[in-house]
């Protein structure tokens, strides 16, 4: 037998056998390589996801730690090391809420996280109604219904009659009357609001860019970068139907009027400080803005979410809807005005948030400042008034006021509760109030967002 036949596997006259083996082996090895590569790729991806996740939670945790310590919250910028990641934390007040931004970078990954903090609702806002006037003598009339406790300086509560209004049936209170002669008439640190009017929000925004009367629309956004202070010498008008921006802020310091024309749709981080009045015309939708006015603010039939309206004069809200967390603040100072007759009026308006009427002096007889919730309005949250409050609408939450006030032509009734409807128990336990109330340092997260 020729030797060739014994080594047929190796040498074949046709030269085929080994070639087939090598070719098939090559295919098998290639398949194995592909499989190995897929596993390597899968592993690399999962490691990348894991690192990104750790980076995200390091940023989140740093922001939480920063806000949980008062000493950190006083600082504007600092670095925290968390889970072996160096996180840069920046903190500042935006209106009466605090924004904390945390950013970190590791290898090729980076993370930017921002969250808003506000105060937890606690004592004395656990009561449905707190009247701080030192010599309170309350009178109940109409269909008043209070679910929760009433805290007042005295236990003098009587039933009264007003012509044309039903008498109270006596079961107006589903709770206790707590007598506390030491009730504080002011529990809010008004220096925070003073800082806002002193343009504190505009610090560190660089040199202002001066513009004449301006119409803001998407064209403006495309041509003007954020994180810039725009000083408008004249009026500022938001006219276009749609206007949105990324997480960065636009700062407008306006010497004239500010107007939001009908059908304006804004979902942008904007801070506006106007020395004059602000008017929001019907059918606007406005989100994420801070409106500061040195004069009065008028709002007509519009919807809002996460807005802060802070004014030195009256704020009139008509037929509008404010989603949580919205904040309405009027601050009157004897340094600015001789007449203390500021007014926050809600007519046919639903508000989920807080209403604050602040005054540099409390208990002055000439102070006519008033928070008025009409019978068609509803507030879910907190009403804090350092003067009079007219509660004709429905309140789900807490009212803390110097006086309760009612008006029926031609008389005004001080510390009369007429047709008041306050329910403290139905308020969400996670409801958060603005920062600045004196007492324990306790805050919670209002909202948060991972930018990237």
């Amino acid at each position: 037998m020729p030797i060739n036949q014994y080594i047929l596997f190796v040498r074949n006259d046709d030269g085929y056998a080994v070639l087939y083996i090598i070719f098939i082996s090559f295919l098998i090895i290639s398949a194995l390589f592909v499989f190995l590569g897929m596993i390597f790729f899968y592993n690399a991806q999962s490691l990348k996801f894991l690192n990104k996740e750790k980076l995200n939670w390091a940023c989140y945790s740093s922001a939480q730690i920063a806000e949980s310590y008062p000493e950190y919250s006083q600082k504007n910028n600092f670095t925290l090391n968390y889970d072996s990641v160096n996180v840069n934390v920046a903190s500042k007040m935006i209106g009466l809420f605090r924004i904390v931004t945390a950013s970190a970078k590791k290898n090729n990954d980076s993370s930017l996280y921002e969250c808003y903090f506000a105060g937890n609702i606690s004592l004395p806002f656990n009561n449905a109604l707190t009247v701080t006037h030192p010599n309170t003598s309350m009178t109940i009339a109409g269909e008043t219904n209070i679910t929760g406790n009433i805290s007042a300086a005295s236990n003098k509560v009587t039933k009264g009659n007003i012509f044309g209004i039903r008498n109270s049936n006596g079961n107006y209170l589903n709770g206790r009357l707590i007598v506390d002669p030491g009730l504080s008439t002011r529990i809010f640190n008004d220096s925070l609001v003073q800082n806002i009017f002193n343009n504190e929000l505009f610090n560190n925004t660089g040199n202002p860019v001066e513009l004449k009367s301006t119409v803001v629309n998407n064209n403006f956004i495309n041509n003007n970068p954020p994180n810039q202070n725009y000083h408008i010498i004249g009026n500022l008008v938001f006219r276009d139907s749609s206007f949105s921006s990324d997480y960065r802020f636009y700062y407008f310091n306006v010497s004239g009027k500010v107007e939001f024309k009908s059908d304006a749709y804004l979902n942008a981080n904007i801070i506006i400080h106007s020395d004059s009045s602000v008017t929001i015309y019907p059918h606007c939708h406005i989100q994420n803005i801070v409106l500061i006015s040195g004069s009065k603010v008028s709002v007509f039939a519009s919807t809002f979410k996460n807005v802060q309206i802070i004014a030195k004069d009256s704020i009139v809200l008509s037929n509008s809807y404010f989603s949580y967390p919205s904040l309405i603040v009027s601050y009157s100072s004897t340094a600015d005005n001789v007449n203390l007759n500021k007014y926050i009026g809600l007519t046919g308006t639903k508000l989920n948030g807080s209403v604050l009427l602040l005054s540099s002096v409390i208990g002055v007889p000439g102070n006519k400042s008033l928070v008025s919730i009409d019978s068609k309005s509803e507030v879910q949250g907190l009403i804090y008034s350092e003067n009079n409050t007219d509660i004709s609408g429905k309140i789900i939450g807490s009212v803390y006021t110097y006086n309760v006030w009612y008006y029926k032509d031609p008389s005004e009734y001080i510390n009369w509760l007429v047709d008041a409807n306050i329910n403290r128990t139905n308020l969400d336990k996670h409801f958060l109030i603005p920062l600045g109330f004196k007492g324990s340092y306790d805050c919670g997260m209002l909202r948060d967002k991972w930018i990237y």
Partner: protein
């Protein structure tokens, strides 16, 4: 068919291959196969590589659940396959809660460990 194709393109010698050529080819193929197969065995045996994604998903879900439902207590549970166990430990520090989310496999090998701090407040 393949052989014809290779022949046309001049890849095969009509004389066939020498024994040395064949042996070298077989040795190279063998060594390469052994290396690749040993790598594959290593990866397939080590659950760390294949289960890390599942572990990450478990941790993500538990963190979200903790933050949304405010479940601030220690817990541990296995996934549906039963091959991974998630541990959540809560440390009550002065001003915040320190959570430690970790996932281990059946052999008690740590796959993921993510610490998360959460501000302490009354509503929690």
């Amino acid at each position: 068919m393949i052989a014809e194709c290779l022949e046309i393109n001049g890849f095969i010698d009509e004389e066939g291959f020498s024994i040395i050529e064949a042996l070298v080819s077989i040795v190279i193929i063998g060594i390469t196969s052994i290396i690749i197969i040993s790598f594959l065995i290593m990866f397939l045996r080590g659950t760390k590589f294949l289960n890390r994604m599942d572990a990450l998903l478990m941790v993500q879900n538990e963190i979200q659940s903790t933050l949304v439902y405010k479940t601030f207590n220690d817990t541990s549970y296995a996934n549906l396959k039963g091959n991974l166990i998630l541990y959540k430990k809560v440390n009550n520090l002065n001003n915040y809660y320190q959570f430690d989310f970790s996932v281990k496999d059946k052999k008690n090998i740590l796959l993921i460990d993510i610490p998360v701090a959460v501000i302490k407040n009354e509503s929690n």
